[in-house]
């Protein structure tokens, strides 16, 4: 089993080897070739021939989609499967027998017996023409363009471009670096007016900020005067922009895209669990982009999720264990991992002992009500399973509270009111769902001095304003496991460094009960390690007989004993996740 902490090469779609691109213009099919006989079809199917291949597709499919199904990529700019058809780029013009004019594949519905040709000299010539048209007024500033490397203009120029320009005049000039929205910059000169962004705002976000102004080659995308492109999903316009016209401000000039490595993972900003590609370079996450999953997020993700990794670089990291003599007093000193684990166990024992619990069962022995824990629904299922085993079953903490994190309401598209990624996982792990009432009681008991010891995993009740720093002085023990030096971690007697987003493997269960695989894409800083491993060490010091070396074995063990996740594994989740039975 690979060590989840150490850097794991990301699992992602393997790029096609050079020279094997399927959309490269092929030599014209031999006209003397015998046409492929079309198979019989069901009542809701249509059989047609595309480049001599027999293809059977459902009725209503477009030629472009049917070709894609047959492995023939018809080049296109304006077509996007998640948006209405605009048919304006004209790049997907293809030849259909018995039709005198070329037809656009994106808007032409298949018909029985249709004979489609996507690579004839006439089609290729037309594509060359479109490509040239798109570039005559384009600034050709690839060397300073963030889109370079994932730009359709570049991609198709390789296939259909002249390699030089026959356009010798002054180009049409438009605004550049226009702050069209809070996170989005617009370079109108790079824009090819495909209107994907306009259609996104009309059809998906429903916010209608964008439109076209002016006419002819002066056409420009814009917002209503004085109104920015500002909606919860604005980043998607950048993703779907096939060229460098719309760029995501936080990513501008951060990395060339060909240096980025994409790891398929899941966003943890809310209970939706949008599928994402985590793009990393030199052990840093540079951006999150949505990864298609028609069951979860389709093609989209929200701006908050897209920025969720930024906390990793904005907040002070907890990179090694910190220790102090008593709660809230004196400065924290760095310590070794062994010291920290030992100190954690010791102070928790003392807190339990001073609470007058009987000796015997667990290490802190019957600490019910005296030692409590706050555990986050932002942890992975593996962390939560280990938290149950260690905190509840080994140390004997009965009072484990999961704080809710809610904001606003569920919207119509993706964003969930529940901002934790794994509330369902907390229930499955046998801890509890987020519960505001139990949290309130615990906070009151801490303030009243009725709690002696507190374990906090992945939460920041002090920073969230739930627990006053004064109240913490009344605790005899406080052990915190978190990825950053939160106010809570800074108040702790023992603060243990955990992995942040993208630094560890694990499982999260979204609001619908879909288990999805969170994949490590970067190495954690310093001595940080997965929360489950820190918890396991505390447990081992208290007599726990467990020695997991990876999240995988925790999951497979849990999958044997917890019916809700029976048989669950990284393999069964794949990159699309799996809906749990009874969810």
């Amino acid at each position: 089993m690979p060590d989840p902490v150490s850097f794991v090469p990301p699992i992602g779609p393997t790029p096609a080897p050079l020279g094997l691109r399927t959309d490269r213009p092929a030599p014209a099919p031999d006209p003397s070739a015998v046409p492929t006989p079309l198979p019989q079809t069901g009542p809701d199917q249509v059989a047609l021939s595309i480049d001599g291949q027999a293809v059977v597709v459902p009725k209503g499919t477009t030629v472009l989609q049917a070709a894609a199904q047959a492995g023939i990529l018809v080049p296109h700019y304006c077509y996007h499967p998640g948006l209405s058809v605009a048919g304006n780029c004209r790049m997907c013009l293809i030849e259909i027998e018995k039709m005198p004019k070329l037809q656009i594949g994106c808007a032409t519905t298949v018909a029985p017996g249709m004979v489609v040709k996507t690579r004839t000299p006439r089609v290729v010539e037309t594509r060359k023409g479109i490509q040239e048209f798109l570039l005559i007024n384009h600034p050709l500033d690839c060397p300073i363009c963030d889109q370079a490397g994932e730009c359709r203009l570049q991609q198709y120029e390789a296939d259909y471009g002249k390699g030089f320009s026959r356009f010798t005049e002054e180009k049409v000039h438009h605004p550049k670096r226009d702050d069209i929205g809070r996170h989005v910059k617009f370079d109108a000169e790079r824009c090819i007016k495909c209107t994907r962004c306009v259609r996104f705002c009309d059809e998906i976000s429903g916010t209608h900020e964008l439109t076209l102004y002016d006419r002819g080659d002066h056409t420009i995308i814009g917002t209503f005067p004085g109104k920015p492109l500002d909606n919860a999903y604005s980043g998607n316009t950048v993703d779907i922009c096939p060229v460098g016209a719309l760029t995501w401000s936080p990513f501008r000039f951060k990395s060339r895209v060909w240096f980025l490595k994409n790891t398929p993972s899941v966003c943890t900003a809310c209970a939706r669990g949008c599928n994402v590609d985590v793009a990393t370079y030199r052990n840093r996450i540079h951006r999150l982009t949505p990864r298609v999953n028609m069951e979860v997020n389709r093609y989209w993700m929200c701006d908050d999720g897209r920025r969720s990794h930024e906390a990793l670089y904005e907040r002070p990291r907890l990179e090694r264990p910190l220790l102090r003599a008593a709660c809230g007093e004196g400065p924290q000193q760095p310590g070794t991992r062994d010291e920290a684990i030992e100190r954690a166990v010791t102070v928790l024992r003392e807190a339990g002992a001073e609470g007058g619990a009987s000796q015997g069962t667990g290490a802190a022995g019957g600490s019910a009500g005296v030692v409590a824990a706050i555990v986050s629904a932002r942890l992975t299922l593996e962390d939560l399973v280990m938290a149950r085993r260690v905190l509840k079953e080994t140390i004997g903490i009965d009072r484990i509270v999961v704080p809710p994190h809610e904001a606003g309401e569920d919207d119509d598209l993706l964003i969930r009111r529940d901002r934790t990624p794994n509330a369902r996982g907390a229930l499955i792990a046998g801890i509890a769902g987020p519960d505001a009432g139990r949290l309130r009681e615990l906070v009151q008991d801490i303030a009243a001095g009725r709690v002696q010891g507190l374990v906090v995993v992945g939460e920041d009740p002090v920073g969230d304003g739930l627990i006053a720093p004064d109240a913490l002085r009344r605790l005899k023990a406080m052990v915190v496991i978190d990825w950053w030096r939160s106010p809570t971690a800074e108040a702790a007697q023992v603060a243990l460094p955990a992995c942040g987003y993208g630094e560890h493997d694990g499982t999260v269960v979204n609001f619908e009960g879909r288990a999805q695989h969170l994949r490590a894409s970067i190495r954690p800083p310093g001595e940080a390690e997965p929360a489950w491993r820190l918890l396991q060490s505390i447990g081992q010091a208290c007599g726990l007989k467990a020695a997991h070396d990876s999240a995988t074995t925790i999951l497979s063990e849990a999958a044997r004993s917890v019916p809700a996740i029976a048989g669950l594994s990284a393999q069964s989740m794949g990159t699309a996740g799996v809906l749990l039975k009874g969810a």
Partner: protein
């Protein structure tokens, strides 16, 4: 045989636009006849039999177009009148709207009856302030007389008409851009199919007819298909308004049967060439978006099929005449500027191609052209042609192709002499 004016019969009368003038010469009797003697379907047949072809530009048979409406669909049907006359050199619909609006209105009502439409729209070019007021007044008059509204002439047929002014875009004369504009959106042509007869205004079956076409429907309503089909030439029937401008003595709108020779139009109706010492160099018989005919090829008949055979098209019959003082490159540049300004910018070839034409032609006209420029011009045109969403692309690609083909020597002279041989560049502002 002297041709009896039909479409222009009222224009020289006093108060030609008033309903009193119109009714005094038998106006609205055709409508009464249709409502009384014809079922809607029978009148569609009548129009089919008349051979009336659309006067908007494409020359599609009017009755056949009406027949494309789906049957048994539980949706309203709309009739949209295309009065967005904006083609340079075309000004025939304006004449009808200004001088004889009731002739148009009667045709609208009869056509709406034929296609079972109860709501018609009159989409008029934004710049037509005066004609629009005239037409609105005519609508009020017709409404007061009971030709519009509920139960027209006791037939049980209801029709209302909304006059809608465009905002000044040439492209809104393209029928689907017109529909978008009418729906309150940016005037961008739609992808076809679906055609408007199936999915048109507000997603409902819609017929879009040109003003002059509908005025011809009035004539058919009055005197029947057989009489109508006797005018003009086979498959090119009826009277036609021909616009003629440019280097003629008497530019204007002339009514004549389809099939009148172009030279007769120039020399008899329009009074001949403006300057006796400057003979005809070329003519564009169909309107600015059609192909040019050099003088040697101008002996043609002005109807749909004859002009198609001559390699051009009747279009909207907005003809213009150029004498030998005209620099063809300059003329094409002037035209290209219009199309670059009016391209809606929606689809790539037209948006980029129209601007490119202007830039290449400016270079040529200024004497800065390179030897490859003429071929480049033709190649760009061939890459626009047929690859756009609407016919606007052809509306400039065809002129470019035909001007270059017919006057290649003149284009080459601009390159070899590094100046405009006719000095047009100097005189142009």
């Amino acid at each position: 045989m002297a041709f009896e004016p039909l479409l222009t019969r009222n224009i020289h009368k006093e108060n030609p636009a008033s309903i009193a003038t119109y009714m005094a010469s038998g106006g609205y009797q055709g409508l009464a006849r249709v409502l009384k003697e014809f079922t809607p379907e029978a009148f569609v047949e009548e129009v089919k039999n008349s051979g009336l072809r659309g006067r908007g530009g494409a020359g599609f048979p009017c009755g056949v177009k009406w027949g494309f409406l789906p049957k048994g669909l539980d949706k309203p049907r709309y009739l949209c009148v295309n009065a967005d006359e904006s083609e340079p050199g075309t000004f025939k619909d304006r004449l009808l709207i200004e001088k004889d609006p009731h002739l148009v209105l009667e045709g609208i009502i009869a056509s709406a009856y034929a296609i079972r439409c109860n709501q018609a729209f009159f989409y008029i070019r934004g710049e037509f302030h005066g004609p629009c007021r005239t037409f609105e007044r005519a609508v009020e008059e017709a409404r007061a007389k009971g030709f519009l509204g509920k139960n027209i002439l006791g037939s049980g047929f209801d029709l209302d008409l909304i006059v809608y002014r465009g905002a000044g875009a040439y492209i809104c004369g393209e029928e689907t851009a017109l529909l978008e504009s009418l729906e309150g959106k940016r005037g961008l042509p739609r992808i076809k199919p679906p055609f408007p007869a199936l999915i048109g205004l507000y997603g409902c079956p819609t017929i879009i007819n040109n003003v002059e076409t509908l005025a011809n429907v009035t004539l058919i309503a009055e005197r029947g298909a057989t009489w109508y089909a006797g005018i003009g030439r086979p498959k090119n029937t009826g009277p036609k308004l021909f616009c003629l401008s440019g280097h003629v003595k008497r530019p204007g709108v002339f009514e004549a049967p389809l099939g009148i020779p172009l030279l007769e139009l120039i020399h008899e109706h329009a009074g001949g060439m403006m300057h006796p010492d400057r003979p005809l160099k070329a003519a564009v018989p169909g309107g600015s978006s059609m192909k040019i005919l050099p003088a040697a090829n101008c002996d043609v008949l002005m109807d749909f099929d004859s002009l198609a055979a001559a390699g051009t098209s009747l279009g909207s019959a907005g003809g213009f005449v150029m004498d030998t003082s005209v620099c063809i490159v300059d003329a094409l540049l002037n035209l290209a500027r219009f199309y670059a300004h009016e391209s809606c910018g929606q689809c790539t070839p037209c948006r980029e191609g129209t601007g490119w034409f202007v830039k290449i032609l400016t270079r040529l006209e200024n004497g800065d052209g390179q030897p490859g420029d003429i071929d480049l011009l033709a190649e760009v045109a061939s890459r626009v042609e047929g690859n756009t969403i609407c016919p606007f692309g052809e509306a400039i690609a065809w002129p470019v192709q035909s001007y270059v083909a017919a006057f290649r020597d003149e284009f080459e002279a601009h390159v070899t002499q590094s100046t405009c041989p006719l000095g047009a560049a100097a005189g142009r502002s």
